[in-house]
Amino acid sequence: MAAWDLCVSLEELGPEAPPLRISVTSDLHIGGVILRIVEKTRINKDWSDHALWWKQKQQWLLRTSWTLEKYEIHADASLSLTPQHKPLRLGMPNGATLRLRACFSSPVFQTVMEIGRLLNIQQPEELSLMRTREQKKKKVEKEKEGEGEEHDITSLSLTAGPVPTLSNGMPVHFAESPQTEAVYRALSLSQPLPSPETTSKMERLTNLVDKAQLHSRWLDSSRSLLQQGVEKNDRVLLRFKYYCFHSLQPTREEVRLTQLYEQARWAVLLEVIDCTEEEMMVFAALQYHIGKVSALEPEKKSSCPSLVDLDSALQCLEVDVKSSPMGLLETMDTAPVLHDYLNIFRPKRLTLRGYKQFWFTFKDTSISYYKSKEESLKEPIQLMNLRGCEVIPDVCVASQRFCIKLLIPGPEGMNEVFLRCENELQYSKWTAACRLASKGKTLADGSFPSEVQNIRSFLAMQRPAPGPRIAQTGDGIYTHGLVSPRYHKKYKTKQLTPRILEAYQNVSHLSLTDALLRFIQIWQALPDFGISYFVVRFKGCRKDEVLGVANNRLIRIDLSSGNVLKTWRYNTMRQWNVNWDTQQVAIEFNGNVNIAFSCVTASCRIVHEYIGGYIFMCTRGKEHTGALNEELFYKLTGGHDAL
């Protein structure tokens, strides 16, 4: 067989070096080619990660037993021998950028699985990679600064087999150095609140077309990174792509949960997903709470876990021992009581707004008031049981207004009562007591002090900071970082704070993971949750419309008005076909319903992969088996390469 020269370029030889030429015959297999090249370079290093890449065909030559002939490689081919794993800059949902080693030769699906394993993200099949927004050249330099800090963890690598984790949930490989530990903490704890400047700078997706554009950037899961033009050190985004989150178990899934929360938070803040004002306030309150609790978290982590365990065990016991007999005794005779002079106002028809001072006593779950302290042994003027009432803060630190609005349900309707306190401390105590009482808890309840503390710290947000200059900027940023730009424009800080405070009272008791879960749940309950938009043109229609792909259905949406025109559910779907030549997707549903559309904003491959991916997600078992049927995934989402 005739021998011919094969050109192979090698990074290791330097950028300017000419490609190596080796003499091969067509029946030489790829393994042999690599061996010859390595011999020729005389560089002594570990070549095991290297593979041949065929530039013209954009193809990896990974089957070492295949011959050149079988790959149809001739003398005109320019190959390069290059490592399969290269550094990749990965934009995380929380805005941080990680520099890590990723596989450029395996399909993106596998690459993501590997990344998931490295970063300790469970169910990585729900994530995928997407390209960054295409930027104008001038801007690139600027933007780079705004991308947040970059963490380099290229040194980390994984061995096969299960990843052992430390007792605090950190995978062993992260515990190598303090730097990597810090990176893990950055991943598993939510980041501090963003400033409104960064929020306003970031891309906002206000209309359907913008949202559709976003989804055109997904990488193809069945092809490798290099095949899709992603080069070494390029930046791609890691995002949750399929919105059906399999068994969110917060115990061992810190990173997944945190990143999911971050993605949800940014979706809300950037108005990628629409919500109502009330929902926004709850989101804001949760963000505030999560931010506060995560700030405390590292201290907890650093102390020795075994000591913590012992401590908590002791505490539990103490509570047990105390709560049963003492609690009982307390309810019998010495329940704690709050009393003070407060002002009350009960709005009635045709009365002017006027507060009157009385002596108030808070006991169990009721407030009673008397003319004066001296008369407190007599019958109260009125006794109000606060069980089931609504407590609405009406507070403004700047103007020293500390009012509590109570809506106390009664057979005749809700009774409105306003209580006015003198100062912050008094306000915090009474509000906390009212809130507990509305839940049927008494002052004796263990959560009272922490509730008081929570209210005080929230009020501190409003209080002007010591330095007058910081006060101007500092506290404005704080609340405004919690809501989307729309609401900073609509409301002033002092209008916003009471509303967030009101929502906050319902979430202030949550632990970090519960708060994260709550945020995600509310996000999931939004009507527009989990819909990926594509501009398409239905067969037989003259105008563009929007196709929404959700985890259980396809939605046809009017482009201009955003109205839902029609919904098809996957479980009525019989089959779907993609015509790769005409770039058309045809779907058949039960009852002879056929639809066909071509994609405008994205390639039909992305739509196809989305639908197939959701169907794949449905096939995952209820119980966590761990092993994924990768074949099935490619079968459902791929297919176009075969042609």
Binding site: C244, F245, S247, L248, E271, D274, C275, T276, E277, E278, E279, V282, L310, A313, L314, L317, E318, V321, S324, P325, L328, L329, T331, M332, D333, N385, G388, E390, P409, G410, P411, E412, G413, M414, R486, I520, Q521, I522, Q524, A525, L526, P527, D528, N552, S561, G562, T567, R569, N571
Partner: protein
């Protein structure tokens, strides 16, 4: 104990005052003044309509009358009023609990006796031992132990309709009774009554009562009521009272023995203190040991044990020293004792449940019971067949609205929202609306499409998808509804949307983008009710109205929101969607629980009758293999199986019918009214 007898007298007077002869008045003259006071405090000034003295079922009519006037007695209000009525309530509740408990035990002996003739004896005979052995479970009816047999006793309970009974955290007073004495006497009394009961069935009353009266002063009063009772010849109610009084005194002995029931002791003892001197002098004044024991235990723990316990925390048990172990066991014991105390502090309520055939049942519930538990015991008692559609429905007459209680809700909590003089009713009734959502989810969860059929497998998948994810997806309900304007008679159209966070509407001139929506209501604090006949009451555009209000609001108020739908289908869709938004997965859990109960009943009844057909609605759920023996009761078998097959088949066919005829006006009503199964009660006569 005279408080007790007053209680009885109260009832006796309620029923008999206008027809009893003068002897009675003379006999009880001494207490009548006080009685009047009590009666008034019970909000029961009206005289009873005259009744035929010998009519065996007069008790039933009596109850119906009463229940019409007021069906629940509000505990809190009663407490606030202080004094006598409170204690009466507490007594009533305690009595009932014991009675219920005992009747379960007493039932086997009861067979063969004429029920109306001697309801008292078998129970009394059983009482003291039962109380002793089961002080821990005397909360009655809380578990599954309150079997089917309770029905007979509760039906025979006095006409005083519903009373709440509980006293929380009061400092107990010293006892004026020697409880041990009473216990001993009671035992003897019961023994002799036992004898008497054996001798004759209907005429044993006299001997029993006289024997009991000879033992202690506390027994005298009941005995006298017996006498009166025998004389008039109308036996049912009064003898029941008598049984109760004895029951009660035995209760107090239980308390002292178990050192657990503070509240009941309290309630027994306090009235005694306030009473006339000759009553108190009749019994020697030793101290009640109950409170003393309990508190001494506490202090003991504080002094020594707690310290040791702190030290040993976390140590494996085999490393403990003897002392520490002793401390541990002590702590354990104390915990058990405390639990018992807690148990005893559980609020109990006697409720009246109305059936579709205008009859009613009285039963005892404790504050921890869920609607499901109450339903289960009602089903056990009423032999009406198991169907998941049986519901407890709250009807608020004054506002013309009703709501089906969800199975997971706490019944007592809901009932406590009723006002003292409330005309509200609690209905025990079969309602297909309750779980229609789960039987045909495609009509509710898929937006507002036309009614359609769906294979069971798909239904299940749909439910799974909707309810078993990490968050429940609220059906996308939106559309034009009529809203009644505050304080006006006019109804305005608005475009409403349901979201998980509440109900919103689109303000005028805006598109329905989320950010522009105005929050109409958040669902945390309101329940959704069906409005009834609002076309005539509020000039509503249609009859398909729903109401949203805080459960505590019982009267007309600006805080009640009235909405009106164009047709019955959208009404049901809205209401069910709101339920999903409010309760989420819990609803589905309730349904599965209810179906499990039904399945179990199927299995069980198919053993006793071979003519079982499996209902279509149940086919989607896995067969439950266990035979719940707790449900089976010797008296229930035939009635259950027959009633059950009928109601099941009827209901399933009706449901699909109902949806087909969705637009017809009377569909809902028809289904409500027609298919209330009027299964005859197991009345005292049969």
């Amino acid at each position: 104990m005279d408080q007790l007898s007053d209680e009885e007298l109260d009832h006796a007077a309620e029923e008999d005052s206008d027809k009893e002869d003068q002897d009675l008045d003379q006999m009880f003259g001494a207490w009548l003044g006080e009685l009047d006071k009590l009666t008034q405090s019970l909000d029961d000034g009206k005289p009873e309509p005259p009744k035929s003295q010998k009519a065996p079922l007069r008790q039933e009519t009596n109850m119906a009358n009463f229940s019409y006037r007021f069906s629940i007695y509000n505990i809190n209000e009663a407490l606030n009023q202080g004094g006598d009525s409170v204690d009466l309530d507490a007594l009533m509740a305690d009595l009932c609990s014991i009675e219920q408990e005992l009747s379960t035990i007493g039932k086997p002996n009861n067979t063969g006796m004429t029920r109306l003739g001697v309801p008292g004896e078998p129970k009394v005979r059983q009482k003291p031992p039962a109380g002793r052995s089961s002080s821990a479970k005397h909360a009655g009816g809380s578990g599954g132990s309150s079997g089917g047999s309770t029905s007979s006793s509760t039906r025979a309970s006095p006409a005083s309709t519903v009373r709440g009974g509980s006293v929380h955290s009061r400092t107990p007073l010293a006892s004026n009774f020697s409880l041990d004495d009473i216990t001993a006497q009671l035992e003897q009394a019961s023994l002799s009554m036992d004898e008497a009961a054996r001798q004759s069935s209907s005429h044993s009353l006299g001997s029993a009562s006289s024997s009991s009266s000879s033992y202690s002063s506390t027994m005298r009063r009941p005995a006298s009521s017996h006498r009166h009772h025998r004389r008039t010849g109308s036996v049912g109610t009064v003898s029941e009272h008598e049984a109760r009084s004895i029951v009660h005194s035995s209760r107090s002995s239980i308390n002292s023995a178990s050192a657990s029931s503070m509240d009941s002791l309290d309630s027994v003892l306090r009235p005694a203190d306030q009473d006339e001197p000759r009553q108190t002098s009749a019994t020697p004044p030793p101290q009640g040991t109950n409170q003393g024991q309990a508190s001494s235990e506490h202090s003991y723990l504080d002094r020594e044990t707690s310290l040791i316990l702190k030290n040993i925390a976390g140590k494996p048990s085999h490393l403990l020293t003897k002392e520490e172990q002793a401390a541990k066991t002590k702590a354990e014991k104390i915990r058990v004792a405390l639990e018992k105390i807690k148990e005893a502090q559980v609020k109990k309520l006697v409720i009246r449940v109305h059936l579709s055939d205008e009859s009613s049942k009285t039963m005892m519930v404790d504050e921890r019971q869920t609607v499901r538990q109450v339903l289960d015991s009602l089903l056990d008692k009423s032999h009406c067949g198991y169907s998941p559609d049986w519901s407890l429905v709250e009807t608020i007459n004054e506002l013309q609205m009703e709501r089906i209680f969800e199975d997971h809700e706490n019944l007592v909590e809901n009932l406590l929202n009723w006002t003292r003089d409330s005309q509200n009713r609690l209905m025990f009734i079969e309602r297909i609306e309750k779980y229609a959502l789960f039987k045909n989810p495609q009509n509710y969860l898929l937006g507002r499409k036309e009614t359609c059929e769906m294979a069971d497998r798909n239904k299940e998948a749909l439910l799974e998808e909707c309810f078993c994810g990490s968050s429940v997806s609220v059906p996308e309900m939106e559309g034009v509804l009529w809203l009644k304007e505050d304080g006006k008679k006019s109804w305005k159209k608005r475009y409403f949307l349901l979201r998980a966070s509440g109900i919103y509407y689109v303000p005028k001139g805006k598109a329905k983008a989320s950010r522009d929506l105005v929050c109409f209501l958040q669902l945390d604090h309101v329940n959704v009710y069906y409005g009834q006949d609002y076309r005539s009451k509020y000039k509503a555009p249609t009859d398909y109205c729903m109401v949203l209000k805080h459960p505590q609001i019982q009267k007309k108020s600006q805080y009640i929101k009235y909405l009106c739908c164009d047709d019955v289908r959208s009404l049901h869709q809205w209401i069910n969607s709101i339920r999903i938004a409010k309760y989420g997965k819990q609803l589905y859990v309730n349904y599965q629980e209810a179906m499990k109960r039904t399945e179990a009943a199927y299995d069980w009844s198919s053993l006793s009758s071979s003519s079982m057909k499996s209902g279509s609605s149940s086919s989607s759920l896995p067969e439950s293999q266990s035979n719940h023996s707790s449900q089976s009761d010797s008296g229930v078998s035939e009635t259950t199986s027959s009633g059950h097959t009928r109601s099941q088949s009827v209901v399933s066919s009706i449901f699909s019918e109902a949806w087909k005829r969705g637009t017809q006006d009377d569909t809902t009503k028809g289904s409500k009214v027609k298919f209330r199964t009027a299964v005859p009660l197991c009345t005292g006569g049969d």
